[in-house]
């Protein structure tokens, strides 16, 4: 949330006084500093139900927690991002997540009389046991195992590719990650 605080501070700063204004330039090659939409606003939930969304947030925290000050899924806003991605995804991907999150939540209520998001970490982790199976090329036939496998990969990727992790890498003098040549539309 640091960046939003910064923006709020900037917004509250009084406008420059007329005496400090610079002379307008006739040069058309102006380059202004801008930020991307996800830097400025809070993401709006698009696809998952409130229960599914809360379950995904808890799951993301378990899969990719913050460690030694390094951002985890929460700081990377992985769950809001995945909710957005799912809203645009093919139907089978959406169903995989919906069924998986619902099943996790239902199992939590059956075993502990609580929603998955309200479980103690040890109880929540116990429900992720299918992730302990040895990796196989084929997707697991059990729908929960298949969901957890997909969600684990997505949560880690959404975290690793986040602005929060990139900024932490720079601040921690670690190697900058995620920079690549981008190709524009070629017409």
């Amino acid at each position: 949330m640091k960046r939003r605080h910064l923006l709020q501070t900037l917004a509250a700063t009084p406008a420059l006084l007329p005496a400090q204004q610079t002379t307008p330039s006739p040069d058309e090659n102006v380059v202004l500093a801008v930020v991307s939409p996800d830097f400025a606003g809070l993401p709006v939930r698009r696809f998952l139900t409130p229960d599914q969304y809360a379950t995904l947030q808890s799951l993301a925290d378990l899969i990719a927690p913050s460690i030694d000050g390094r951002p985890g899924a929460k700081e990377a806003e992985a769950a809001p991002f995945l909710d957005f991605l799912l809203a645009k995804s093919p139907r089978d991907r959406q169903a995989l997540y919906q069924r998986g999150l619902d099943t996790l939540n239902r199992t939590a209520r059956t075993r502990h009389q609580k929603a998955f998001a309200e479980l103690l970490p040890a109880d929540a982790n116990a429900l992720l046991a299918p992730l302990k199976a040895k990796w196989t090329y084929s997707v697991p036939t059990d729908p929960v195992a298949a969901f957890l496998r997909a969600a684990k990969a997505d949560i880690i990727r959404a975290t690793t590719n986040s602005r929060a992790v990139a900024e932490a890498n720079v601040a921690g003098r670690r190697r900058a990650t995620g920079l690549n040549p981008y190709w524009q539309v070629i017409e």
Binding site: S36, L62, I63, A64, P65, I67, F81, L85, K88, S89, P90, R93, N125, L128, L131, K132, A133, K134, W135, T136, Y137, S138, R149, K152, A153, D154, I156, R157, A158, N161, S162, R163, A166, T177, G178, L179, N180, P181, Y182, W183, Q184, V185, I186, E187
Partner: protein, 530 residues
């Protein structure tokens, strides 16, 4: 008004089209090149971006590329738009057709592996009785390989092996890392040959920098981007190609250009699609298809990506010596090399790319949370992986046909693609995996994961066949110079001409065949035959 002073129309600007222009234009032949896609401007179209600044955080737009697994969100705009350029396949037999429509074609993104084919491929039928021989041998093509390798600055190491012929290479004299030394020793113990990778070098190794500039400098090459060829016209009196009909990609306006000779290098499946779409009274089932085999014998090389993933124990935690990790190598086909009955439960053979270094995917570890983070930190840079590439056998029933109703954005009938892997390929993949595991274990590596599941046909981007060359005009479309048996002024230069393909990456052979075909045309012209 156009002047129409060209002798040859070249369709396509990738490996085959680019090389044809390079040879012909420098020999004084006036060429007109039609490329379906636009031109790339490396300065204007490419810039450095952070993954978090991309709209989909590096995941890519969901559903944009149902078949192009190679596309990333960074390079998505380089690959073909699958919605505008549809095709079909049987519901339960997916085919991944991976395309680039830009000036330079797939040479803008190819993997650059550059192996020669051997007489195990050219004369495969003589060796094991399967399929058809090529109508040429290594001795016929070797002088042309000799010229292509220096042009593409191919580096590697000559080994003197019959199944992987030596080339004119930039000598790769790099030393091996300690982990690689162990792996090579394990391979040797198991009787598995290994060598250095053989790749085109340089920042860019594409027709747009290595071939087209030299061709254009002669003043003999005119390049027309955004020209989607719809149909090839023939003279009903002579049966020869006399025109090419194309559509402006942007305006959809139609044009016709006459030609004396046609060099077709639009890519394996596009070239055959075009021939099948060019029907006439003389060729009712497609141009140059008196044999009836046009569109048939579609094949590729099957890939098992990361067939074996292992860890080098001494590299865990970053504790190993500096020269422990790094390097890459290649295992050529080494099975079924003796003539007669195959020694394995399959025909032909497979190859490997392998590499030391990198970090295995977190998916491979049965952990999450803190535990996974510790494991990943421990495994950082300690990975070793192998990818299998195997020969798939050309079969008549594997084919490209024209879909009865499906059309692309420009109204051109789209292809229907049918290919599936059979027991021969599956047995090969399983043998490769088991051998790979044994090699890694012999080197003292910890095998994390092994599998033999190949990616769908087409995904290797080594699609071949459908317009095969052969000695018998009743069984093939082209002769040994890539010239249509039926239509003497039509040459088909890309991978569609292959009667078989081995396990070697095909681009080097496409380039060498194109040099040979181009010089054959020059000779024919000199003799007044064309």
């Amino acid at each position: 008004m156009p002047t129409f002073n060209h002798d040859v129309v070249i369709i396509g600007s990738g490996a085959s089209g680019g090389m044809a222009a390079y040879i012909l234009a420098q020999a004084g032949v006036k060429c007109l090149m039609l490329e379906a896609g636009p031109m790339v401007d490396f300065t204007r179209h490419r810039s450095l971006k952070a993954v978090y600044d991309l709209p989909f955080r590096g995941f890519g737009e969901p559903g944009r590329f149902p078949h192009i697994t190679q596309a990333s969100e960074f390079d998505a705009n380089l690959w073909i738009d699958e919605k505008k350029n549809p095709y079909s396949h049987p519901e339960n037999d997916p085919y991944y057709w991976v395309r680039i429509r830009l000036l330079g074609g797939k040479t803008l993104r190819w993997g650059r592996a550059s192996w020669r084919l051997s007489d195990y491929e050219f004369k495969g039928k003589d060796h094991d009785g399967w399929g058809e021989n090529w109508p040429l041998s290594l001795a016929d093509l070797a002088p042309f390989y000799d010229r292509v390798e220096p042009l593409f600055r191919v580096s590697g190491r000559n080994e003197g092996w019959a199944q992987l012929p030596d080339g004119k290479l930039l000598a790769d004299e790099s030393t091996e890392s300690l982990s690689m030394e162990r792996f090579l020793a394990s391979a040797k113990k198991l009787g598995v040959p290994t060598t250095k990778p053989r790749r085109a070098t340089g920042t860019l190794a594409s027709s747009v920098n290595l071939l087209l500039p030299a061709a254009q400098a002669t003043g003999n090459l005119t390049i027309v981007p955004n020209a989607i060829v719809r149909e090839i016209g023939i003279d009903p009196k002579t049966g020869l190609v006399n025109a090419v009909h194309y559509i402006d990609r942007r305006s959809k306006r139609e044009y016709t250009v006459p030609t004396k000779t046609l060099f077709l290098g639009a890519s394996t499946l596009e070239s055959t699609r075009l021939l099948l779409n060019s029907r006439s009274r003389q060729y009712p089932t497609g141009l140059a298809n008196s044999s009836g085999v046009l569109g048939h014998y579609l094949f590729d090389q099957f890939y098992v990506k990361n067939s074996v993933t292992a860890l080098v124990p001494e590299a865990r935690g970053g504790k190993g010596p500096r020269n422990l990790m790094g390097g890459a190598g290649y295992v050529p086909r080494f099975t079924n090399l003796k003539p007669g009955k195959p020694e394995k439960n399959y025909l032909r053979g497979w190859a490997w790319d392998f590499g030391s270094g990198g970090t295995p995917s977190p998916e491979l570890f049965p952990q999450w949370g803190d535990e996974l983070a510790r494991t990943m930190a421990d495994a950082q840079g300690a990975g070793f992986s192998m990818t299998t590439m195997g020969e798939s056998l050309p079969r008549f029933e594997h084919k490209l046909t024209i879909h009865p109703t499906l059309r692309d954005e420009w109204g051109i009938p789209a292809p229907h693609l049918e290919q599936r892997y059979t027991d021969n390929e599956h047995n090969m993949a399983k043998d490769a995996m088991e051998t790979g595991v044994a090699m890694c274990e012999g080197a003292g590596f910890e095998v994390l994961a092994a599998h033999s599941q190949m990616v769908p046909p087409g995904e290797s981007i080594h699609e071949l066949g459908t317009c095969r060359m052969g000695a018998d005009p009743k069984k093939s479309v082209l002769n040994s110079f890539n010239q249509a048996h039926d239509v003497k002024n039509l040459f088909v230069l890309d991978g569609s001409a292959f009667p078989s393909g081995g396990a070697q990456n095909p681009t080097l052979t496409i380039l060498a065949l194109t040099v040979r075909a181009s010089e054959y045309l020059l000779e024919q012209k000199k003799q007044g035959k064309l």
